[in-house]
């Protein structure tokens, strides 16, 4: 049997298992409960929570983009490991506090959280819309990841539109059925798979091609040492750009609605332990970077249409590995994409319902809200699918682009928790200006001053406007402030 057939069978087997796990997870739970659908009743355990948070960050970007970065840029790829390990740390302090506030007022989303403090429906609508757009963009990267995998592993036999449709279709089905709990249990299965695959395959490739990492890196270090450094003559990224990229990723991480809202899904003790166990996930990324470095001098970059294809290309075309290995890598990469896509699809639907729909049509019953959230999963799925199939871009650029606008929530969120004097006009102005500045530097301007990341430019403008406008507007009612800032 040719390699691609074995790969195709294994990937389909994986998809079937993923569907079964997802659907089974939601069984025996109250299917008509809004709390169950949105935050799994706030009762996820450490084991599941760790995979849910980890699976969400271990995405198509990690599986395809990380080797691509290591291969094409070298040392700058280290930013991925650095931010994965550190971005979660603030959750130890703010997670339990958000949880307490959320539990008291029955929140499921970041838009409801901000509205609760600032009493501004406008703010909730803006946040809901930004969350929706950023999520659709993020989903598009996951879906093109899934489609690329199908395409390359079957040597072009599964067209792009079909690969994306099958794998993401499964995600939509189990998320709409089982809500957060389905996403969480799928992530356990998918997380285990991708960890095993990345270590086994990653190390096998390095040893087969170079006989070990020492030999491999010694060669690179002798010929092009600047490739393993940052900000040197001939390096691929400057110091300011590297530093601000890490900063923006770290600050933005917990502002992602699908991660922020997990504060509501577990008790404080579980949140803290998840944070402590999390850096292990950063270490799982190491072999994927090694694969990228191993491809240097082996894969001719002229043969790739996009550097993100370096890992699958290496396996199928350059090394001619056995078919079951294709299948394993294919399944691992699908798992990485799907475990991110499920959490994002789920939260995008929640944010849009909570932020936009509920502020336009007030007083919706729980039953209607749940129906809208379920239906939203399909609508968002269709939207993301449309964008993926009719407008493809590079994975990394797309992810960093979406990150830029999400990070603009940070000043409002931290002020909600700690700054008594923050006001709704201040936060709204800051958010609007920050988002505008970010878009300007990301999409309009040719470059940013000193190479500072566009998101950080936006953040600086955001903070200045938020603080100034807050101070010149009327302070909030003491009562509303204390419910947040003094939540023990």
């Amino acid at each position: 049997m040719p390699g691609w057939q074995i790969a195709l069978i294994m990937m389909i087997a994986y998809l079937v298992i993923a569907l079964i796990v997802g659907i089974m997870a939601g069984r025996g739970r109250d299917g008509s409960s809004l709390d169950e659908f949105a935050v799994a009743d706030g009762k996820l355990s450490l084991f599941v929570m760790w995979f849910l948070m980890g699976g969400s960050v271990f995405s198509a970007f990690s599986f395809l983009g990380a080797p691509g970065w290591a291969y094409s840029k070298g040392a700058p790829a280290l930013y991925i490991i650095a931010y994965t390990a550190f971005a979660i740390l603030p959750w130890y302090i703010i997670g339990p506090k958000i949880r307490k506030i959320g539990k008291r007022f029955r929140f499921f989303t970041i838009s409801a959280f901000l509205k609760g403090r600032y009493k501004s429906p406008l703010l909730a609508i803006i946040v809901g819309l930004i969350a929706l757009f950023a999520s659709v963009q993020y989903l598009a990267t996951q879906m093109s990841g899934m489609a690329i995998i199908f395409d390359i592993m079957t040597e072009g036999r599964i067209p792009f539109w079909l690969g994306a449709l099958i794998s993401y279709g499964i995600v939509v089905v189990y998320v709409a059925t089982g809500g957060l709990r389905a996403a969480a249990w799928s992530d356990v299965f998918q997380g285990l798979l991708m960890i095993i695959v990345s270590w086994a395959v990653g190390l096998a490739i390095v040893y087969q091609l170079h006989g070990g990492t020492t030999e491999m890196f010694a060669n690179i270090a002798r010929e092009t040492p600047e490739f393993l450094q940052i900000g040197k003559e001939g390096s691929n990224m400057g110091k300011v750009a590297y530093t601000t990229t890490i900063l923006v990723s770290c600050i933005g991480f917990l502002m992602w609605p699908h991660l922020f809202s997990k504060s509501y899904a577990s008790n404080p003790k579980t949140i803290k332990k998840t944070v402590l166990a999390y850096p292990v996930f950063a270490l799982f990324l190491v072999p994927l970077l090694l694969v990228g470095f191993a491809s240097i001098g082996v894969v001719d970059s002229g043969q790739l249409t996009n550097v993100d294809q370096v890992l699958p290309f290496l396996i199928t075309t350059v090394m001619n590995l056995p078919g079951w290995l294709y299948g394993l890598v294919g399944a691992g990469a699908l798992a990485a994409s799907m475990s991110t896509a499920d959490a994002i699809t789920h939260s995008a639907s929640l944010e849009f319902t909570d932020g936009v729909i509920k502020n336009i049509w007030k007083n919706l019953s729980d039953k209607t809200t749940l129906f809208i959230m379920r239906a939203g999963v399909f609508v968002i799925g269709a939207l993301a699918y449309y964008i993926t199939v009719f407008g493809g871009q590079g994975l990394v650029a797309l992810l960093l682009g979406a990150y830029g606008s999400i990070v603009q929530f940070a000043p409002g969120v931290y002020s909600a928790l700690y700054w008594r004097r923050a006001t709704a006009p201040g936060v709204v102005t800051g958010l609007a200006v920050g988002t505008y500045v970010n878009y300007y530097y990301q999409l309009v301007a040719e470059s940013t001053p000193f190479g500072i990341h566009a998101g950080i430019m936006g953040l600086m403008a955001n903070i200045v406007f938020m603080v100034t406008v807050s101070l010149i507007t009327k302070p909030q009612a003491k009562h509303d402030v204390e419910k947040y800032v003094d939540a023990a």
Binding site: A75, L78, I81, A85, A221, F227, L228, K269, L276
Partner: protein, 73 residues
């Protein structure tokens, strides 16, 4: 230890290693050689600080005055 002291300590312990991974702190580790444990020095440096942070925070967790708090709402 009060909650406030603990939080301050947590923030300080989290930020110091982080500063080692961004510039100017990363200047110390920004070298291709020597190759340690099969990794270029810059790569090794990043992993080293992640492991240090991991160990430090697990130790710190034992001092958290609220670590056994299940739910109080």
């Amino acid at each position: 230890m009060s909650k406030r002291t603990f939080n301050t300590l947590y923030i300080v312990i989290g930020i110091i290693p982080f500063l080692m991974l961004i510039f100017p702190g990363f200047e110390l580790g920004n070298r291709a050689t020597p190759i340690i444990m099969g990794l270029p020095f810059s790569f090794f440096w990043v992993l080293l600080w992640i492991v240090i942070t991991f160990i430090a925070l697990i130790t710190l967790y034992r001092l958290d005055p609220e670590k056994d708090e299940e739910e109080d709402v």
